[in-house]
Amino acid sequence: MEVLNKKWSMEKLMSLRKEILATWPTGSDVEDIDAGIEYQKSLPKSKNFAAKLLHAKENGITLVQPRAGVALVNEHIGLLQFLQNEGQADLLPSTIDSYTRQNRYQEAEKGIQESISSGRSLLNGFPAVNHGLENCRRVVESVNVPVQVRHGTPDARLLAEITLAAGFTDYEGGGISYNIPYAKNVSLEKTIYYWQYVDRLIGYYHENGVVINREPFGPLTGTLVPPCISHTVAIVEAILAAEQGVHNLTLGYGQCGNLVQDVAAIQTLQELSEEYLLKNGYENRHVTTVFHQWMGGFPQDEAKAFGVISWGAATAALAKATKVIVKTPHEAMGIPTKEANAQGLRTTKQLVNMLKDQTLPLTNELAEEKEMIKKETRAILDTILKVGDGDWARGIIRAFEAGIIDVPFAPSRYNAGRILPARDNNGAIRMLDTGDLPFDKEIIDFHKKKIAERGEAEEREPSFQMVIDDIYAIGKGMLVGRPN
């Protein structure tokens, strides 16, 4: 099957729908597609994600959103209400459990049952498919702010059908960003096709007056991802979504830790995505940005974790990201208590409020960083379109095969895994090895120079050990993993 970036007919969507809804009993509750649209229209505007994001963007505010999800409905509602009331969250999530992400609804069911019998959540998220339409609507109705589905599901079609009909107004993921970092053996053809379904569904909602926001997952593997890599994936997914009729997009980026690079990344993500959407004929699209606080390893100590969280919050505010996804002081220990989650939110809220009147002024360093990110990203994007013979879907699939786009530390066998990222002497993420990325000599020399500077400062040859040192560094209180 060849997948092309071409808008699906409604017939195609509707004929597939039947099959999808039949994959788990709760699918039958959403058979009437227009019932979901009617329900969405009955919700107040204050619960619409897209509207709240655009308002924030216009007013230079950075909104604050947690990750959160537990196995049982009442407990999940209690958790979200707590984060709304005690955490002052502007936006809420329902983070989906890992079994549901792999469409293992049977195992999710077992997790629900064990959670009931043991009195604590044995699932790492909310199994929305198993709980079904009415329970999901109870979640949306129980809080006062917009709710987003956050997951990591390569085939998220049934999940989308149920949660969108239930009033969720933002849907995270994409055919690339929820495949390469989240699957091992699933081809990009398949996941792009799965996500064309989701995007077409959202396009149908849009045509019928319901605006659903879409958020490609920005941080990918969350570990030393150079901005040009995550930007490329975000922009290609934005184009694929836009083709199916999605109008509102939040593009994401995971904090690297170097202030100048992070601010440059958020600014270029906004600028490049608008440029490429327009250039490809997608008009009237609204792009906002999301900044993910530090996605790598966290210090075990909560006081130190607060420091890491705060630096992410400050950077998000100075970069003027539209929203920031918040970590918690329990990060190193796995899933946080609701109290710890609310603490991370309040710390972040304090900083985005304190810094809302400040930006990072444009400096030579910032201008240079932005220029390099743009050059790199354009080089990859333009090559993708070329190898795709003018089609973005065909292009991204072929590009992954050829290593033209390459995500570090990804589990998928459809990813080349040839590039090797490491920090430079100021903590910005560069490449020790640019693999088969389609870079010209200027870009390659830039990375070589930056890594060489660090090697000299540390008196060692750049190697994979440098990469490992960088991965462990934050847990030891550092950004750059220097030898002892």
């Binding site: 997790g111 064990e114 790492n124 530390f409």
Partner: protein, 137 residues
């Protein structure tokens, strides 16, 4: 293969690939022959790989909190498959949420794991233990 063959992987529906890559690198550097079955690995895949390669130990990683459910019964399946004596290690964020470490450790030891590691353990610690357990060097 020899005395130094081990199987590593990330169990269940877990896709955390970074630590797995580092473990692979660190154990290889330490002289082990690492058979890395990657993420999203089932109990059966661990056992299959161990039998095929004659591995002396299975190192199970779990970072996403479902480790408790995913690891249950692994020792019994090893016994049924004729490798009941194989060394089993587990490590990572093994349960959902911040819990006391000792009870978690007890739980996994009772399940038949030889050693259990909390989040944040460096590879060097497990390498030292494994060398001792396998009487290497």
């Amino acid at each position: 293969m020899g005395n130094k063959t081990i199987v590593t992987g990330v169990i269940g529906a877990d896709v955390h690939a970074v630590g797995n890559r580092i473990l692979d690198y660190a154990f290889s550097q330490a002289g082990f022959d690492v058979v890395n079955i990657g993420v999203l690995a089932s109990q059966e895949e661990f056992i299959q790989a161990a039998i095929e390669t004659g591995a002396k130990a299975i190192l199970v990683s779990s970072l996403y909190g479902h480790g408790e459910m995913d690891c249950r019964g692994l020792r019994e399946k090893c016994e049924e498959s004729g490798i009941g004596e194989i060394i089993l290690y587990a490590g990572g964020n093994l349960v959902v949420g911040k819990q006391e470490w000792e009870p978690v450790k007890e739980k996994f030891l009772e399940m038949g794991f030889n050693r259990v590691y909390p989040p944040g353990t460096l590879p060097e610690e497990a390498i030292t233990h494994l060398k001792a357990d396998l009487n290497i060097e």
